[in-house]
Structure formats: C-alpha cells, structure tokens
C-alpha cells in the first residue's frame, strides 16, 4: 500500500500527538512490542500501559529503529512497532535500508513527523525547510508497505489495516509539535524496563 504525498498537511491540519498515539494504542495487541522514544515516550505512558511497552529513554538519538529491528529479528513470533521522531530518523536515515535489507516482516516504523526537535525546545530540523517526503524515502528504501497520514480520522480508519499488511511497514504521521514538551520522560528507569521486557519475552518463548 502506498500513499502519494500530493497533499502535504497544512500546519493547522496536523494531528494532535496524543490523539495520534491513542489510535496506535487501540490498534496494538498482546502480540505487539511497542518501542517509544523521545516525545512519544512522554505521552504513551499516559494513554497505555502494557508489559510489552518499552520506553527507550535515555537513548542514543537515532537508536530506536535499529533497537526495534533487533527485537524483531530475535523474535519473529512477535510484532514490533517503533515510534520514532523525525529528528531521530534524520540522525540515521540509512537505518531504513538496514531494515529492508534484513527482511524483518514483523516490524512497523511509525514516524512522528513534527518538523522539530521537540524535546530540546522545538528547534526546526533541517527537513522542516526542505520539503522532505519521508514516505517517499521509505518507499525508495524498499519498504513494501508505506502510508502517510495527516488526518486523524483517516489514520483511525485505515491505520490498523496498514499495521496488518506485510512488513516491514513505514507509517508517517504528520503531527503538531507539543510546545513546551521538553525532555523525554520514561515512567520507570531504563534498567527496570530492560529487565521487564527481557523477562516478558523469555516467558512468552517457553
């Protein structure tokens, strides 16, 4: 499935971050591992709490997608969703090719495209003034299924269907920045999360 980027969102038509993530929280199942990062890691714990949630904070910026790919490769019996910011993706655009080269059919990348480095005070990313088509980049990198949403109703209607298509999948969401949303915050320390996810995955593999 592909969506042409012929109608990029006007700033006032971007989705609200919480509303966009609520759609994803409703679509995920007990089979899904969800890796959040940066701004999404701050919002997700307010709307969902699942033993297979992993809030990658503190992270190495740009690491969420390769981290999720590692999980997906280790556990092909699971579906892995990673929620990445556009600034993080820009730090390591090559990881899109790493993902497609790996043929990880159980990985979904959900890109929060807000055009800014939200957690450091909403400075513009280089892409904010460059008319970057992330869905187009993913398509060119070889993702078999790519979607681009800027309307919440459309994302709500079709998002779950896209998540069920053959992976790896790339979903770009045009989202309004959260002004004043400084700093990624995780609900519990990273080491606790590592232990919780490792144990949960080990239990489910028995």
């Amino acid at each position: 499935m592909t969506e042409p980027n012929e109608n990029p969102a006007e700033p006032d038509r971007r989705m609200n971050l919480t509303a966009a993530l609520e759609v994803l929280a409703r679509a995920r199942t007990d089979r899904h591992v969800v890796v959040t990062n940066q701004g999404s890691a701050r919002v997700w714990p307010q709307i969902a709490d699942h033993p297979l949630d992993f809030h990658y904070v503190p992270s190495a910026m740009g690491g969420a997608i390769p981290f999720a790919l590692g999980l997906a490769l280790a556990r092909p019996d699971r579906e892995v969703i990673t929620v990445s910011g556009d600034g993080s993706l820009l730090m390591s655009l090559g990881c899109l090719v790493t993902v497609t080269a790996s043929h990880a059919a159980n990985l979904s990348i959900v890109l929060i495209d807000n055009g800014v480095y939200e957690v450091t005070g909403c400075q513009k990313t280089p892409a904010a003034t460059a008319d970057v088509d992330y869905a187009g980049l993913a398509r060119s990198a070889g993702f078999p299924n790519v979607a681009h949403f800027w309307d919440e109703g459309d994302w709500q209607r079709r998002g779950p269907k896209v998540l069920a298509l053959r992976g790896p999948r790339f979903i770009s969401l045009e989202v309004e920045p959260v002004r004043g949303g400084y700093g990624p915050i995780a609900p519990c320390p990273l080491l606790e999360q590592v232990t919780r996810l490792r144990e949960r995955l080990a239990q489910s593999s028995k």
Partner: protein, 168 residues
C-alpha cells in the same frame, strides 16, 4: 611483521567456526577490507546470522534488541566505526548495562611505522570508555579470541577483542 603484512590474521572459516562454537547467534557488522574477507564464511554459516548495518552506531542498538530478545549478538566493525559509534555504545553498554561483545579491526596495526590514527587511537579510546578488551596482534595470540568471548558470554560481561590488521 613485514611491510607486506597480511590484511587479517584470521581467515573467514576459522572466524565463523570460532564465533559459532562459543555461542554467538548473530554477527552485526559493517566490515572493512580485512574483516570483509570473512563475509562469505559468515554469510554461509548455518549457525550464524549476518546482519548488515549502514552506519556503525546502528549496530549497538540493533545488538541490544537482539540480546533482549534472547539472542547472542557480536558487533563487528573497524576502529573508525568504534569512534563513530561512541554515543550508541555508551547508551547500550552503560545506560542499558547490556553485556554486548564486539570485535574491532585495527586498521594498519600490522604495518611497521604506520602513523594511521585509525589504530593509534584504538586502545586509548577503549580505555577511555572503560571497555575491557584483548588485543590479538600476533598469530600466537589467536586462541585468545575464542577464550575471551567464551568467558565473557559465560559471565555475562561486555568486552571487545581488537584484531590487528594490515594496510587498508
């Protein structure tokens, strides 16, 4: 060593056998000209999965995901990649405290008189990061590779093996 130093002290088949024997399941790599000679052996090993990354920083996070998912990954790259991926390894080894192991190729180490900064900074950087390592710079050191990795896997501790290389 002579000016005609070999590109690598190891051949692919012995590396692939050693890594699989000690228990690694995945090799996450970005090769250089010496390590790259191992590609066919690693890629064809029925006991190893070779994962190619586009930049070295990806390798550490990817290995972290593999490890938490229950696998035993080895990160393989040149010293230049080690330098590039400092923040990624900082996060994985020190924030997440994961016992990820790595094999680092030290370019030009075997070239007498080489001033290549790619190898000169290798040990200082590893020491600065506080990463335990073993250096394999002579043929007689080669058994160290399997011994060290086996011990670190058994005890669940991070570490690196630095393998001296010839010219790029």
């Amino acid at each position: 060593m002579t000016a005609n130093a070999p590109p690598s002290l190891f051949i692919g088949s012995e590396i692939a056998e050693s890594l699989a024997d000690v228990g690694f399941t995945h090799v996450v790599w970005l090769p250089d000209s010496a390590i790259g000679l191992w590609e066919e052996a690693l890629d064809s090993s029925p006991r190893l999965t070779l994962v190619r990354v586009c930049r070295e920083g990806e390798a550490w996070a990817l290995a972290a995901g593999l490890h938490i998912g229950g696998k035993k990954p080895l990160v393989v790259m040149q010293t230049t990649g080690l330098f590039e991926s400092g923040d990624a390894l900082r996060n994985v080894l020190f924030d997440m405290e994961l016992p990820i192991l790595s094999l680092i190729g030290a370019r030009s180490w075997l070239v007498p008189g080489s001033k290549d900064s790619a190898f000169r900074f290798a040990e200082p950087i590893l020491k600065a990061w506080g990463i335990d390592y073993r250096l394999i710079a002579r043929p007689e050191d080669k058994p160290l590779l399997a011994e060290y990795f086996a011990e670190r896997l058994k005890t669940g501790r991070a570490g690196a093996v630095v393998v001296a290389e010839g010219p790029p």
